[in-house]
Symmetry: C2
Subunit: 358 residues, 2 copies
């Protein structure tokens, strides 16, 4: 895939929502924003991570905030490019490439919209290989790229440029500003050169999203789309179930909560739960932990295979929980400290898929 046009947007939206593991934003909104920008400015050129020159100036762009709010507060075209503009002006550098910080229905496609608006190529990569709720939770933190200076802009014209002593402080200050801006804001951060991008990003995320999305295309998806997705991602369908309750609260700028599932098949009669904070983080069978972050826990509609984001989860959904292995760098002690269950305040040890080649 060398460019992103309207067809690719549809496929990426579908697939990135799977990789977003419940977070990363509503794919319908991401697709609307990217399609509008492509209709105005034409398709976006995609640069493979390996082809990025050392001296490239790469600026990721994303939406920050609670997905529950994002679905009601869609950014304007102007706002999409402005975060990059503000950061570029602050850095005094000429940006050469836009990038994705995470995979997700909105956050894989906001960068497409921004790249189209700004007339720049987009890097086929992302900072996580999935979505995570907090902004320090990227592989770039492990490879020493600073989150700041970072720009936070809202739809009203307010902006902040934040510069912090570490990436956790960037999360803290940017989160508060985002909450003030109405729980949803556009950000640009982790400015880096091409060499740093090649070291710290996950290659091929947009292509992967598009290929997952292709599996789920209406007419292509077979009887059991979840199994097809699981096989494609090297994972497995851990659970088939029905959603029977969703406890949900939007606090400290996140969509937090727990979904309660009634198991089917091998889990028939079992009470399963999924704890989420924007993303699905811990999957349990009663007290027994089946899977945790940083592995991917994707809730797919059992019939269509469509990813269900945490803000869409509701009673009656028939879901298949696909568990897929995360990028191997997340499985190191440093990676687990940054994005394992303890990083989210859960008492559990990380439970990761076994037999995954590193």
């Amino acid at each position: 895939m060398r460019q992103v046009g309207l067809d690719e947007v549809r496929a990426i939206a579908r697939g990135a929502a799977v990789l977003g593991t419940g977070g990363g934003g509503d794919p319908h909104i991401g697709a609307l924003m990217a399609a509008a920008a492509i209709r105005t400015h034409g398709p976006v050129a995609l640069t493979p991570l390996a082809e990025l020159p050392d001296g490239a100036v790469v600026l990721p762009v994303a939406m920050m905030g609670a997905p529950t709010v994002m679905v009601e507060k869609i950014p304007s075209a102007d706002q999409v490019g402005r975060a990059v503009d503000v950061l570029t002006r602050h850095l005094g550098l000429e940006v050469t490439h836009v990038a994705c910080i995470e995979a997700g229905g909105v956050n894989s496609l906001v960068p497409v919209a921004a790249a189209a608006e700004l007339g720049l190529p987009l890097v086929d990569a992302d900072g996580m290989g999935r979505a995570f709720p907090e902004l320090q939770q990227v592989l770039l933190t492990l490879t020493g790229v600073r989150a700041t200076p970072m720009a936070v802009v809202d739809e009203k014209g307010n902006c902040a440029v934040i510069d912090t002593v570490d990436n956790r402080w960037a999360e803290r200050l940017a989160r508060s500003v985002t909450i003030d801006m109405g729980c949803s804001a556009m950000i640009s951060n982790y400015a880096m050169d091409g060499a740093a991008a090649r070291r710290g990003l996950v290659p091929g995320t947009l292509s992967l999203a598009a290929s997952v999305g292709a599996l789920l295309e209406p007419g292509v998806a077979g009887e059991d789309p979840a199994s097809a997705v699981a096989a494609h991602l090297g994972g497995r369908v851990a659970v088939r179930a029905k959603v029977v309750d969703v406890e949900r609260r939007t606090t400290t700028g996140f969509a937090r909560g727990t979904a309660v599932l009634e198991g089917a098949g091998e889990h028939a009669g079992r009470r399963l739960t999924v704890d989420f904070q924007n993303e699905n983080l811990v999957l349990r069978d009663g007290d027994h932990v089946l899977a945790t972050a940083p592995d991917l826990i994707c809730l797919l509609d059992t019939a269509s295979g469509a990813a269900i984001t945490t803000e869409q989860l509701r009673f009656g959904h028939r879901v298949s929980a696909v568990v897929a292995p995360c990028d191997p760098r997340w499985r190191t002690p440093e990676g687990l400290a940054l994005a394992g269950p303890a990083a989210f305040g859960y008492p559990d040890d990380a439970v990761l898929l076994e037999g995954v080649p590193a």
Copy 2:
């Protein structure tokens, strides 16, 4: 007064704490910071507001946050100058003068420390003629000076540059960042040229503070220092009383609460209250309102005349409440809308001293 040396620092600290109406920070801390900077860099030249050239580049500097926290978290010398440095770099301008945004024990003297650190003259003026809790509450808002771009820096090395659509949004975003930084931060905002400063600042505030401070010098203050201060400020001693209770909470970044006073003299046997939010805002005799912001409500120690800041207020203090007229621009409908009792959520109409020449 053409310069601020160590003697002037002591007098300003004493007098600015009176003008701070309970807020603006602890004068002891302000004096420590200014004296340390003057000992290292020498006295600070004071520029009368009227002598400021049109093309001057004036940057106010202040501490933002809850005074209850400031007394335990004194900024470093490095932090004092850094807010101005960050804003200067962002603006790409060469700053010619430092200024005070409000009168108060810390916020009249932090600019002295900053001016000494930066080797710049200080303007003999301030933005309010008193202290107020929120950053849009300056006469500059009425004369059309933007609060942003503004810099917020902490002692750890974190900073944010905020740019907002109006001055109220600047308060909102900067307050959240300040809370994250530990409820106390150094700020620089309201960058303006000399002409705008002459239009929007209150002239002579530092000289006035020094002259009030001189009245209160040990050995100079007579039997009734509060009456001497009231006469000097064109006000009156409204109440003599003893503090019998202080209800206090540090919420949303402010020191809020109510002091309960037991009246003496003409108010003997009466229960008086002072509502505060960093500053003293409403003085009541039972349900009867005696005085409100924007007029100055200064609680002075009856014996020494020393101003008592809201965070120092405690059971047993014998106090004299001096009410003094605010700058006449605060008495306009626009001024009252910005800083009258309703602006702080109190249900009362403004009650202002009568017979004050405008």
